[in-house]
């Protein structure tokens, strides 16, 4: 009996081994493990055996069934895996083909630099404030210590809309005046006011009748010129790198006293001298100073109690320096081939 079982086992295992496809495996399962299959048939011989023999033969048969089932499963798996692999192989794509271009837009270069500057100042507690571009002479000049007939007006050749009263603002400083007036001489002020300004300049590579200023103002108690220097250090390092150093030079603006021009060490040559810094090692980036007492007084702040500093950057100049742009008209033409580059984060 046992011999018969061994014979059957080797016969089945051989047939499973040589099965050519999944169908053959399934057929073999029906043929051998089916109700009328040879394994079931062997079961009928159980009756002929005694209790001990039954037990032994039962174990032998069980082993046979398990071995055959395992062999069938293994073969089935092998065929299925092969089939899937073949299918996947046939579905292979060319990953080097171009991607679908997802629509996304780039910022204007000036707005990008303004956002960067805004971020630094907002982190230092400065609000970002806006103001009208059609402005009153009072705010654009008079309250900034530039009375009618003052030569400083000649330098800022202004677009007047109504004689000596309404104009296109020639600087963003009127926003500072408006902010101080709104604070009523009682509250401290910390603000920047990036925005468009207009002067009667013929447009060329370095002049533009429309340009953007980033001016700022801090008014509080016991504010010092050295605070302006420290603040300026922060922004310079943020915009032009940690190794950037700054210096002040005496200067003159009507609405600040003392006034300074602020230079940064040339970030191209690191101060050694190159064409960008005209071999001086320094680049002028901003005008600034302590708010003139006449301006403070006019806006309701007692200069004996309050002091403050104001500063101004040219957004175009910052962008031209930082990104190596030579023509100011670049910012107002929007050549999409160029601006696409600016849809990315900076270092």
């Amino acid at each position: 009996m046992k011999e018969q079982v061994e014979k059957l086992k080797s016969e089945v295992l051989q047939k499973i081994e040589s099965a050519k496809d999944l169908k053959e495996v399934n057929d073999l399962r029906v043929e051998y493990l089916g109700k009328k299959g040879p394994i079931n048939e062997l079961t009928s011989h159980m009756r002929e055996l005694d209790a001990k023999g039954k037990k032994e033969f039962g174990m032998v048969l069980n082993d046979l069934k398990q071995t055959v089932t395992a062999a069938l499963d293994e073969k089935k798996n092998a065929f299925e895996t092969a089939e899937l692999n073949a299918k996947l192989q046939s579905e292979k794509i060319d990953v080097t083909l171009p991607a679908t271009k997802i629509p996304v837009g780039a910022p204007n270069i000036l707005e990008k630099i303004i956002e960067e500057v805004e971020e630094v100042f907002m982190s230092m507690g400065y609000d970002v404030v806006d103001g009208p571009e059609i402005e009153e002479d009072k705010y654009n000049f008079e309250m900034l210590n530039i009375p009618k007939g003052h030569p400083a007006r000649d330098a800022q050749d202004t677009f007047y809309i109504e004689d000596e009263s309404i104009l296109l603002r020639s600087q963003t400083s009127p926003v500072q005046v408006r902010t101080m007036l709104a604070a009523g001489g009682k509250e401290p002020v910390r603000m920047i006011c990036p925005g468009k300004t207009y002067r009667r300049d013929a447009d060329d590579a370095t002049h533009s009748h429309q340009f953007m200023q980033i001016e700022g103002l801090l008014v509080d108690k016991n504010i010092r010129l050295s605070d302006l220097k420290g603040t300026f250090d922060v922004i310079a390092k943020k915009l032009f790198g940690e190794d950037c150093v700054t210096r002040f030079r005496p200067s003159y603006y009507q609405f600040t006293e003392p006034s300074v021009e602020t230079d940064i060490s040339c970030f191209v040559c690191k101060g050694k001298g190159c064409p960008l810094c005209k071999n001086t090692g320094w680049i002028t980036v901003s005008g600034a100073g302590m708010v003139h007492p006449n301006v403070l007084r006019g806006c309701g702040y007692d200069p004996k109690e309050w002091s403050g500093f104001a500063f101004g950057f040219g957004a175009e100049r910052l962008a031209m320096l930082k990104y190596g742009i030579n023509d100011i008209r670049t910012f107002y033409q929007t050549d999409l081939r160029e601006s696409a580059t600016f849809d990315r984060k900076d270092v």
């Binding site: 679908t100 629509p103 507690g125 009208p132 000649d154 030079r249």
Partner: protein, 786 residues
């Protein structure tokens, strides 16, 4: 231009390195743009000992020239070279302007060891027909042959070219003022020049009277000198004028210029004989004529100040003298004017007549009356000494100058706080001494009187702090940070929403542009979808920038054209900018333009072309993002420059907030879509706060329906009715198919029913569904497609 030789008269700089000094001055705030050493090396005075014609030339001469250490042969082509004259000799090694180096050589076979020079060849005169005709320079000098010619020429000087801020233009624009600046920096004293002269018994009062009949002339003084001898100026005057960039003319004219460059105060000399007996200063009459000394006829206006002889103008005050009283070779007696005129009037007159002169620039900055008097005395002194003049006694004076001294009181602490320096009273005293500002210190309070020469300084502590700070040196200032509370800054007003919109539009695929606010009248006429008149500038620079735009759309068309010309195919752009109407009402706008493709994949043929519905989708996405979901509608509308069948107004809460549409094919034949929204209007709307809404746990039931309607019926008519009839159980309705035939179209809708609190039964959904069918047919006339 400042001559340092000249400054030596007033301040001791004998042992200073003038290049280093320039750096110090610049650091203290007066920018020395250029340091020019005028010296020309290897240039000596020579004496022509012999001069014969060149054997091989019809115009050259062969000269034997004594150059001090030897007599050497030089070939010279000038017609005026001759035996016995003293000349300028450039020896081998001398480099002339244009980097032309003199070398020993031979000219047509004759040895030549240098060059005899004309002034223009040394760059000391302009080269023109007149100077060329003069030939070589003939020197009228006792200096022996071999002397360094720079001494004779005044080119042994160093000259600073200044680039000064307007306010310091005043005192640093003349040599005594600049000497004060040097003295402050070096901590030295200033010596003023001599001005003592003898006065004759004869008085000006006998000859001329003065009347000032305008408030634009606060100070007018006149003195008279007689019997001047007009001749060449002494060497030192000529040299210094040249160094400072002025051309010597004759002693009298030169003295007036010389004093102006010393004290910064221009003087005017009238020929007394031509002037007559009266000086009347008044405003000019409208269209009053005058011929100025440059022989030009000029027409005045009532804003100009004139000096008259009682009747006719003899000088445009502070700007230019009249030809009728000009000093010339025959002049014997002179009336000297030293005055102060209203600076603003002078600037306007000079600008209007395009007559910016050394004098008008100085009058236009304002003058110190103390220096007006000093200049007058100095001129009398020089005229007496160098023009043999007799100075008459007496002085005509009109004086309305406010002489109240400018005094400022402060404590050291105030200066310390402004600068961020720890100063002591002693430090402040030291700095004030250097500045030569008179002061008193009383119980810790300084009382400083600001000298009249410093018109730029106002009596407040900030001005004093600036003077101290710049002398102390800003490079010594330490960096500190403001002692203010820590906080995070905010966007104020509509700045925040502007930033949000901008970022969102970029994420939605539009590129940001920035264009000019000022546009042309033609462009301003386009896309006038609002009833707004633009601001037109009264005095524009050019017509193409003469109107303030009321809409950004024409500017975006310009950007489109610019990129199209550069072969950019997909132009998807936006701009956010302020616009204004003629009442100066501000309206910030968001303009968009799309042309070409949106998402792109050509090889898979899945590229999406920009069309009305993509732009509409971007606007809806933006509005939803801003919190306006379900509050806006698009209403078909005819809009200028837009396709009449493809344009709409955009309403938010029934208020018009913008427009959208395809650009009219007769304006631009390409398929361009534009839209513009009012950011100002969006900013002024309120939105509900964001809240969590749980998704329904119960199944939803989906039903489709299709209607046949006439082609011109808008989908929203049916959709709105479906929503109305569907009531609470209808969750959403959406168009999923359109099918057009002849004059009709079929619109298919997908309806979703659900209840957030329970499972709906088929019966109740069918009940609502049937209600929708009945009501839509009844109210819109649409037929249900079976």
């Amino acid at each position: 231009m400042i001559s340092l030789n000249w400054c030596k008269d007033y301040v001791d700089i004998e042992n200073e390195d003038l290049h280093e000094l320039a750096v110090k001055i610049t650091k203290a705030g007066v920018n020395v743009e250029k340091v020019m050493d005028a010296r020309i090396e290897h240039l000596v005075i020579g004496e022509v000992k012999e001069c014969v014609d060149h054997p091989d030339s019809d115009h050259l001469h062969v000269c034997q020239v004594d150059v001090g250490d030897k007599v050497t042969q030089i070939v010279c082509g000038a017609s005026n070279v001759r035996k016995g004259i003293k000349v300028l000799v450039a020896l081998p090694g001398c480099v002339l302007p244009g980097n032309f180096e003199i070398k020993a050589g031979s000219i047509r076979g004759q040895e030549s060891n240098g060059m005899i020079c004309a002034l223009f060849e040394l760059g000391l005169e302009e080269k023109n027909d007149e100077t060329y005709a003069k030939g070589i320079a003939e020197l009228d000098t006792d200096l022996p042959a071999g002397t360094d010619a720079n001494i004779y020429l005044g080119t042994d000087d160093t000259v600073y070219e200044l680039d000064i801020h307007k306010h310091r233009n005043n005192d640093c624009y003349y040599h005594i003022g600049f000497a004060y600046e040097i003295a402050s920096i070096l901590n030295k004293k200033v010596t003023l020049p001599e001005a003592d002269y003898k006065e004759d018994k004869d008085s000006i009062d006998k000859y001329v009277s003065l009347k000032v009949d305008t408030d634009k002339c606060p100070y007018y003084t006149a003195k008279m000198v007689k019997n001047v001898v007009i001749k060449e100026s002494p060497d030192f005057i000529k040299k210094r004028l040249i160094a400072a960039g002025m051309r010597p003319i004759n002693n009298v004219v030169d003295i007036s210029n010389y004093v102006m460059l010393e004290y910064g105060n221009p003087l005017h000399f009238f020929d007394a004989a031509k002037l007559g007996k009266e000086i009347l200063v008044r405003q000019a009459e409208e269209n009053e004529p005058i011929t100025t000394l440059d022989n030009q006829d000029r027409v005045l206006t009532s804003g100009d100040i004139v000096i008259t002889d009682g009747k006719k103008p003899v000088c445009i005050a502070g700007v230019m003298g009249g030809l009728n009283t000009d000093v010339d070779e025959t002049t014997k007696d002179i009336v000297i004017e030293a005055a102060i005129f209203d600076a603003v009037s002078i600037r306007y007159t000079a600008a209007r007549l395009d007559l910016k002169s050394e004098a008008s620039i100085r009058y236009g900055k304002g003058l110190s009356y103390e220096y007006t008097n000093a200049a007058m005395d100095r001129a009398c002194y020089l005229l007496e000494k160098y023009a043999d003049a007799t100075v008459l006694s007496g002085k005509l004076v009109h004086d309305k100058v406010d002489k109240t001294p400018k005094v400022v009181e402060f404590k050291t602490e105030e200066v310390s706080i402004l600068l961020g320096l720890e100063l002591t009273d002693k430090d402040v005293e030291t700095e004030l001494d250097r500045l030569m500002f008179p002061y008193e210190l009383n119980k810790g309070t300084f009382k400083v009187t600001i000298p009249t020469r410093r018109l730029d300084i106002d009596p407040n502590v900030n001005d004093i702090a600036e003077e101290i700070g710049r002398l102390y040196g800003y490079e010594n200032l330490e960096s500190t940070l403001p002692r203010v509370p820590v906080r995070r800054g905010r966007y104020i007003g509509d700045v925040g929403i502007r930033k949000e919109v901008s970022k969102r539009l970029r994420l939605l695929g539009l590129n940001e542009t920035k264009t000019y606010t000022l546009t042309s009248p033609e462009m301003a006429k386009l896309f006038k979808y609002e009833d707004k008149q633009p601001v037109v500038l009264p005095n524009p620079m050019s017509s193409d920038k003469s109107v303030i735009r009321t809409t950004i759309l024409p500017s975006l068309i310009n950007v489109y054209e610019y990129n199209k010309a550069r072969k950019v195919e997909n132009i998807n752009i936006y701009e956010i900018a302020k616009t204004y109407d003629s009442e100066y009402n501000e309206d910030s706008k968001i303009a968009m333009l799309m042309k070409g493709s949106y998402s792109i994949n050509n090889w898979q043929h899945t590229t999406t072309k920009c069309d009305f519905y993509i732009l509409k989708g971007i606007i809806e996405n933006l509005l939803d993002y801003l919190g306006f979901k379900n509050r806006y509608t698009f209403v078909a509308s005819e809009i200028p420059e837009l396709h009449p069948g493809m344009s709409a107004k955009i309403l938010l809460d029934r208020e018009e907030i913008g427009v959208i549409g395809r650009v009219h094919p007769s304006y631009k034949k390409e398929e361009i879509y534009v839209a513009e929204l009012s950011l100002t209007k969006l900013y002024n709307k309120t939105i509900k706060p964001l809240k969590y809404k749980e998704a329904s746990k119960y199944p939803e039931i989906e039903k489709d329906m299709a209607y046949v309607v006439s082609k011109d019926v808008e989908s929203s008519v049916i959709q709105d009715q479906i929503k109305k009839s569907g009531g609470r159980l209808l969750d959403s309705v959406e168009v999923f198919d359109i099918y057009e035939m002849d004059n009709e179209k079929s619109i298919a809708y997908k309806l979703i029913f659900k209840d957030p609190s329970r499972t709906l039964s088929d019966e109740e959904v069918m009940e609502v569904f049937n209600k929708i069918i009945n009501e839509v047919e009844a109210k819109t006339g649409a037929k249900l497609r079976s």
